[in-house]
């Protein structure tokens, strides 16, 4: 017998092979979101709220702090282990996005050369500290977002946002984006393949062709939007969307949210690694 988790992993494996492209394997996140663990069962609103608070707490840490960030790893770590998520997959996702953030932080060491920490003759400049701090914060926040999607599902997140007061128009936009990104992705792949097959060497690969491809895709998207709108009107659309209700916000959700919020506050107010270090050094003394 296979556990549900194994079946999910098997299905997901097939998807990865079929699609290959790492950017479009959101499918796998969706499959993970269908799991049934203690984390999956928490109401989406609680998870969205907690994740947002987590991200705010992480971002608000001072720019030269590194040790203060470490206790925050408890949140993703617990969610990953209790939610039964494959760590390798989440870390690969984060790595995939990391080049962008490398560019953001790479110049810090050059501009901010004032040493802040000294080990004898060695000094570590503020630039390096803030660079590392940016990387850690990036890993924490992006990781938390992926974990949220993988334990909740994108549609549920949108519904939760809407229930918590996000204007309906935005929630629906997000849903449509998610629904049609795959269709658009397919179209992009097909068009680029068509270009690939008819361009030789450098010919046909210039920016000009790229421009007309993008324009073409835009027009097609416009056409499709019109057809979708027709389809919606045909089925009596008058500006209202109805979704199946997410499960209720019960005591478990309250505990989840309050406990994590308290922990994030603690992390921000108390230097946990510092205190732990103090205790150790006192014991050793």
């Amino acid at each position: 017998m296979y556990s549900t988790q194994e079946i999910y992993e098997h299905q997901a494996g097939n998807y990865m092979i079929k699609n290959g492209s790492a950017f479009f394997d959101f499918n796998y996140l969706d499959i993970l979101a269908r799991g049934d663990t203690i984390i999956h069962r928490v109401d989406p609103r609680a998870k969205v709220l907690t994740t947002v608070l987590f991200i705010i707490a992480v971002i608000s840490v001072g720019k030269y702090e590194i040790s203060a960030l470490l206790p925050f790893f408890l949140f993703p770590a617990l969610n990953i282990s209790l939610g039964g998520l494959p760590l390798s997959y989440i870390s690969r996702k984060i790595l995939l996005l990391s080049p962008f953030i490398l560019f953001v932080g790479i110049f810090n060491p050059f501009f901010d050369t004032e040493p802040i920490i000294r080990f004898g003759a060695f000094g570590i400049s503020g630039g390096w500290l803030s660079f590392v701090s940016i990387l850690i914060r990036f890993a924490l926040t992006v990781g938390a977002a992926f974990i949220l999607i993988a334990t909740t599902g994108f549609n549920e997140i949108c519904t939760a946002c809407e229930k918590m007061g996000l204007p309906k128009a935005f929630a629906v936009q997000l849903l449509f984006l998610y629904r049609y990104i795959f269709v658009l992705g397919d179209e992009v792949i097909r068009v680029s393949r068509a270009r690939e097959l008819r361009s030789f060497g450098k010919r046909g690969k210039g920016l000009k062709v790229f421009g007309s491809i993008v324009g073409n895709l835009l027009l097609r998207t416009w056409d499709r939007a019109q057809r979708i709108h027709t389809a919606m009107l045909c089925r009596g659309f008058r500006g209202e969307f109805h979704f199946r209700r997410p499960p209720g916000f019960g005591s478990a959700e309250a505990v989840y949210t309050v406990a994590w919020t308290a922990y994030f506050l603690l992390c921000r107010m108390v230097d946990i690694p510092g205190s732990v270090g103090d205790i150790f050094s006192r014991v050793l003394r």
Partner: protein, 254 residues
């Protein structure tokens, strides 16, 4: 049951760029009929279909669905009566899951949740895809998408089913299944297609469009036997009516 009638009277349509897509179309389709609308590319089929649910308004002439002329006031009622299945299911299935997509129409009709649930499950069962109800549409195969698209219209219990090219992109088996399914529907059916064998299977009446006019309107078999007419309208006999080059079966035999 007069409300299953579709009547067009000298309908004309000119697009803003000056293209005359329809140049005076008239026909009357009565309750329970299965009618095919065939014609070459650009003959005006799609434009015609968009008039049946009021998405396009005629530049001249009138459209009557059931007992009502199609006007801005009757639009909601007409859209409830006419169920439209689009050519590309991706245009039609826009909700996050199959269930929510099929429930979209009934919710917009203002039905209570329990009734919506009953209708959704019934429609999904009718087309045989109730096991897919929690799947997102983009993960379905072409045949499954087509079935869900039909279910999403059936759930509004329309009196008239309008289908745009229902068999394009289906494998032979899925196509055969879909034909069987459509034969079971008791609705008034209006189908556009280039799949003339399917038309022969399902529709007893055929309307041939040619350059924005009705070139012929009559029993399917009679129309498909008229070689001169078919040639003029850039059509061809259905394969099942053509002579067989292998066994020497003569033309016209079925």
């Amino acid at each position: 049951m007069s409300h299953h009638i579709v009547e067009l009277n000298d309908v004309r349509h000119t697009y803003p760029d000056g293209t005359q897509a329809l140049r005076g179309i008239s026909f009357r389709i009565t309750h329970g009929e299965s009618v095919a609308i065939v014609g070459a590319n650009g003959a005006g089929k799609s434009t015609l279909l968009l008039h049946l649910n009021g998405y396009l308004a005629p530049s001249g002439g009138t459209v009557r669905i059931g007992d009502m002329p199609l006007t801005r006031q009757t639009l909601p009622e007409v859209r409830k009566t006419v169920g439209m299945v689009f050519q590309d299911p991706d245009d039609q299935l826009f909700m996050p899951t199959v269930y929510e997509d099929v429930a979209f129409g009934p919710f917009n009709l203002g039905l209570p949740r329990e009734e919506v649930d009953v209708r959704v499950m019934q429609s999904l069962r009718t087309v045989g895809v109730d096991h897919l109800k929690n799947k997102p549409p983009f993960r379905l195969s072409g045949g499954e998408k087509r079935r869900v698209a039909i279910a999403s219209v059936l759930s509004m219990s329309p009196d008239i089913l309008v289908m745009d090219e229902p068999t394009t992109g289906l494998d032979p088996f899925a196509r055969r299944q879909l034909i069987g399914l459509m034969k079971e529907f008791r609705h008034t059916k209006i189908i556009t297609s280039h799949d003339l064998d399917m038309v022969l299977d399902i529709c007893e009446r055929t309307i041939v469009l040619h350059e924005g006019t009705v070139r012929a309107d009559g029993p399917t078999l009679a129309i498909f036997s008229n070689n001169a007419l078919l040639k003029e309208c850039r059509l061809e006999k259905p394969l099942s009516m053509q002579g067989c080059p292998r066994c020497g079966r003569p033309e016209g035999g079925i």
